[in-house]
Amino acid sequence: MTTTNKTVIAPARDEAAGSTPQLKALLERSGTVVLPLVAVAVFLGLWQALSAAGLTGTLPGPLQVVQDVQPLIVGFFNNSENDVGVAWQLAASLQRVAIGYSLAAVVGVAVGILMGSMRPFQLALDPIFQVLRTIPPLAWLPIALAALSQANPSAIFVIFITAVWPIIINTAVGVRSTPQDYRNVASVLKLSKPTYFFEILLPSAASYIFTGLRIAVGLAWLAIVAAEMLTGGVGIGFFIWDSYNSSRMADIILAVLCVGVVGFVLDRTIYYAGRLLVASE
């Protein structure tokens, strides 16, 4: 009896086993696309409902926003004196971030290596940096304006000072945590200082350095919008502030969306650069 039962059941099981995983895989794959879309739709629906009910103040609902931003999207790449498109506003901000962030990367990695490899530097600088790094980016702006007396260099300085701390601290930790094994190999082989630096110290600390760089690029992008609101001129931060002052609420929403997308792209760029350059263990 049992044997016949088994033979009857077995093919049915096989069939089920054949289709279910496929179905599951399909659901899982479509889930990564469908579920986020559902979440966005729910969010937009709520927003539309709230604005229709008049609960969002002067902020328009999503349908209104889509209508209002048409000219802005048409003129996305405009570059005339009185009508600078959002693309160019973003480009101006990105340029400031690029300068400030590059400076922070160079200075941060250099100081971090110094602190990580020479104990007196660590002892001398660490307490100072632990205090300085907690200062909010915008608190530096008056100091920068006082010292540099120009808006643009001051904004760049704010980016620099915001981005530099995580780079310094992560690099120093990375250098300090070079495994003793690697140091032993270097001393037994009597590697020269430059060889040790480039072949052992830097690669060993690379994953820490990239962690610092990734945190830093996020912070830099956070700071630029706030800094530009205060310094003015061309730039996405001032564009947002200016739109608010002229009651162009839909423009703000488009600009904020762009800021988010650019920030996401910056973060991913550093992440993939790190994956490319840091050897996997």
Binding site: D181, N184, V185, V188, K190, S192, E199, P203, S280
Partner: protein, 265 residues
């Protein structure tokens, strides 16, 4: 006795602790001939690896010192190359690049082509020519150990220091590697000092087995000559009655005389 090739001259090592210095090694004295394979055997924690690090120059003796070819040495250098316990390969370099880094730094004057061929030759010697472009993360534990051995041999050291070289391998791979390293060693007879806690490994590979007493203040308790002819094979040794006599004497040393740390004082 003629002047020894490598001499450990009354080495003592004390570590400072809050409760005063902890004496790990006390008056370790040993003379090693050129081309000799010496195994340091003892319970774990007896200071074998500390002693090896002192010979390598990675750690400094508190008293006494290491004399290589009549000259005292207390700094690390490629003439006393180490095969580290956990391989210590650089994970961002390929197997070939790991070996080449060692060759490059020990043959600074040599032309590039010669250095390349040396690195390739030693990688082939350990049977890893086919894995030259693999990173350590992409090869097995046994293969990593081969790369580590190739790196050590490629620097052509005067003394090769093996720090429990097969400790991290599974039993089958360990036996395979022991025999392979033995074969390589029997071909060129570099002077070897090997730290181990495996009795059979010591008997199979070494000319002399140096027994360490238990710490604190560990020192050499006894030295056994291993009477088997070279080249050796595990099968032949296991058939030899002398193997069992030697093994029993080593076991008696380890477990009857120094089984309890109390007895070490």
């Amino acid at each position: 006795m003629i002047q020894p090739f490598l001499e450990l001259s009354y080495i003592s090592k004390a570590f400072p602790t809050p409760k005063g210095p902890f004496v790990a090694l006390k008056d370790v004295a040993l003379k090693i001939r050129k081309g000799e394979f010496v195994a340091l055997l003892g319970h774990s924690g007896c200071g074998k690896s500390t002693l090896l690090n002192i010979v390598a120059g990675l750690s400094q003796a508190s008293a006494g010192g290491v004399i290589l070819e009549g000259k005292e040495t207390d700094q690390p250098g490629p003439d006393r190359m180490v095969v580290f316990q956990n391989y210590a390969l650089l994970p961002w370099l390929t197997a070939y690049e790991n070996v080449f880094l060692a060759v490059r730094s020990t043959m600074p004057g040599a032309p590039e082509s010669e250095r390349r061929s040396v690195a390739e030759r030693y990688l082939a010697l350990v049977g890893l020519a086919a894995k030259a472009d693999k990173r350590p993360g992409e090869i097995s534990g046994g293969q990593k150990q081969r790369v580590s051995i190739a790196r050590a041999l490629a620097t052509r050291p005067k003394v090769l220091l093996l720090d429990e070289p097969f400790g991290a391998l599974d039993a089958l791979t360990r036996e395979e590697m022991q025999e392979e390293v033995l074969k390589i060693w029997e071909a060129d007879r570099t002077t070897v000092l090997m730290v181990t806690h495996e009795i059979d490994e010591a008997i199979l590979m070494a000319d002399r087995i140096v027994m360490m007493t238990n710490g604190p203040a560990a020192t050499i308790g006894e030295v056994f000559e291993v009477p088997f002819a070279r080249p050796r094979s595990r099968a032949e040794i296991l058939e030899d009655p002398a193997y069992y006599t030697l093994r029993n004497r080593i076991l008696a040393f380890l477990y009857d005389r120094f089984g309890e740390p109390v007895l070490a004082d």
